[in-house]
């Protein structure tokens, strides 16, 4: 048991220690969603409308930045020595995902401090579901980042996917315009986009009016998406390499 928990725990702790020592990273992750939000929200004179989207974007950036490190870490870095240690792969993957998700969550919580600017008031007790929702979304997006990064040869490829897949996914998730007003195929896209449910989950817990899909549906889809991704991470990492991946 020790041989399973210790590696995961040490990786999780490593992420947190690194994060604490490189505090400027927080600025990088929180700053751009904050600027987007302030620009779009102020321009349309509706900061509250875009708040959930900006918060999820913060979590997404954080999750992406910490999973992107896998690519370089594997070729040159700490991951190398992990790969030739007897620690079980699933334990290593769990530790990495726990660590990255915790960071994404913390940065989401930091972004929560700007809620009053949006006129969003959260009662102390309501903070619990909000924090839990951010945690769930953090795990989901970290899982997504991991699945993409694990097979990537270069960080350039990851940037390509980020611009072609992740950012557009975020755009049609209800972060910028609600599903109710979307037209034609974009509306279908929004329906099948798992991120749509993350955004509406945030909207529901923050008490934003008229968010679609419904609260329970949003919760279930986000959780299911997260579970599928985590399972995928475990399966991918357990596969043995016969090529020069290391």
């Amino acid at each position: 048991m020790n041989s399973w928990i210790l590696p995961a725990a040490t990786l999780w702790q490593r992420e947190l220690v690194r994060f604490w020592r490189q505090k400027s990273r927080v600025l990088g992750v929180v700053a751009s969603p904050l600027v987007f939000w302030l620009l779009i929200g102020s321009g349309s004179n509706d900061l509250a409308r875009y708040y959930s989207g900006a918060l999820v974007l913060t979590v997404m950036f954080s999750a992406i930045f910490s999973t992107i490190s896998i690519i370089e870490d594997r070729r040159e870095g700490f991951l190398l020595s992990m790969l030739v240690s007897p620690a079980p792969r699933t334990s290593l993957v769990l530790g990495k995902i726990l660590g990255s998700a915790t960071l994404a969550w913390l940065q989401g919580l930091i972004f929560l401090c700007f809620a009053p600017l949006a006129g969003v008031r959260i009662a102390p007790l309501d903070l619990i579901p909000v924090a839990l929702a951010i945690l769930l979304i953090s795990f989901t997006l970290t899982g997504l980042g991991f699945v993409i990064a694990w097979r990537m040869e270069s960080t350039a490829g990851f940037h390509g996917i980020m611009n072609l897949l992740l950012v557009p996914m975020w755009m049609v998730s209800g972060s910028l315009f609600p599903m109710a007003t979307a037209h034609g195929w974009v509306r279908v896209l929004m329906r099948v986009n798992p991120l749509t449910y993350s955004i509406s989950l945030m909207n529901h817990t923050l008490g934003m009016p008229n968010s679609q899909p419904g609260a329970l549906e949003s919760l279930l889809v986000t959780a299911a998406f997260g579970l599928v991704l985590l399972a995928a991470c475990g399966i991918m990492a357990a596969q043995k390499s016969t090529h020069s991946t290391a």
Binding site: L6, T10, R21, S85, S241
Partner: protein, 302 residues
Amino acid sequence: MIQVENLTHRYGERTALRQVNFAVAKGEIFGLLGPNGGGKSTLFRILSTMMAPTEGRAVIGGCDVVRDRAAVRRQIGVVFQTQSLDKALTVEENLRAQGHLHALSGALLRERMEYSLAQLGLEDRRKDMVETLSGGLRRRVEIAKALLHRPPVLLMDEASTGLDPAARRDLTRHIERLRDQEGVTILLTTHVLEEADRCNRLVLLHRGEVVTEGTPQELRARIGGDVVVLDTDDAQTLAGAIEERFNLRPSQVDGQVRVEIANGHRFIAEVVEAFPGAIRSVGLHKPTLEDVFVRETGAQIE
């Protein structure tokens, strides 16, 4: 301790290793010497369980590197060519994380850390951030980290790359002490001749094949006497002329003519006398591993 049998590896069409065989005895420093691209890194990846070979097998401490991967991983410490330390952590934190990967904790882990730090002379650096350490010190931390679980076998890939000569000698000293005092078996890859010279035994790898094998002394002894190197404008003509006149077999490498000969000092006088104006400069040295490599492959290592 390590047996490599008929090991072949192909990356698609390209054959990186071809029928490689050798065995490493317990407690020796064994070197894989060869130019970059010679197959050392492929061999290293296979031995360190990162990659399965196309054909053949490798056994470390009685365990097959493919089938008993987990057992092999407990027996080897691996030092990579690239850095595997976390720069944002201290020396001690890096070691502790490594210990956890090997399921070491508590008093046992502390004891192992003390031992490793002491072995590599790093006691007073334990609180230092890896980022602030010199290249030589980082290498020592890498070795301390690789030895933490007290593996009987240490695998090192081009461990001295990027180190200045003083740091390189220092590293060699530490490795030799591990062999002498702890009985650790060490396999290292290198393209640095002075490092290869300190090995107990060597394999010369060229284009994925074992060219020759032996102790550094044995290998050098194959070249009788001295090596004379002649700098000239036209190596081909000069080599031909020497062959004809002195009945020798000179080789041409990189526009130079090399002659292996006993009593090289006498030959120099004769050859300069014989071809006035044809020779730009003359060098004489005792055989090195480079000469052995040139003789066996017609190519240079560096």
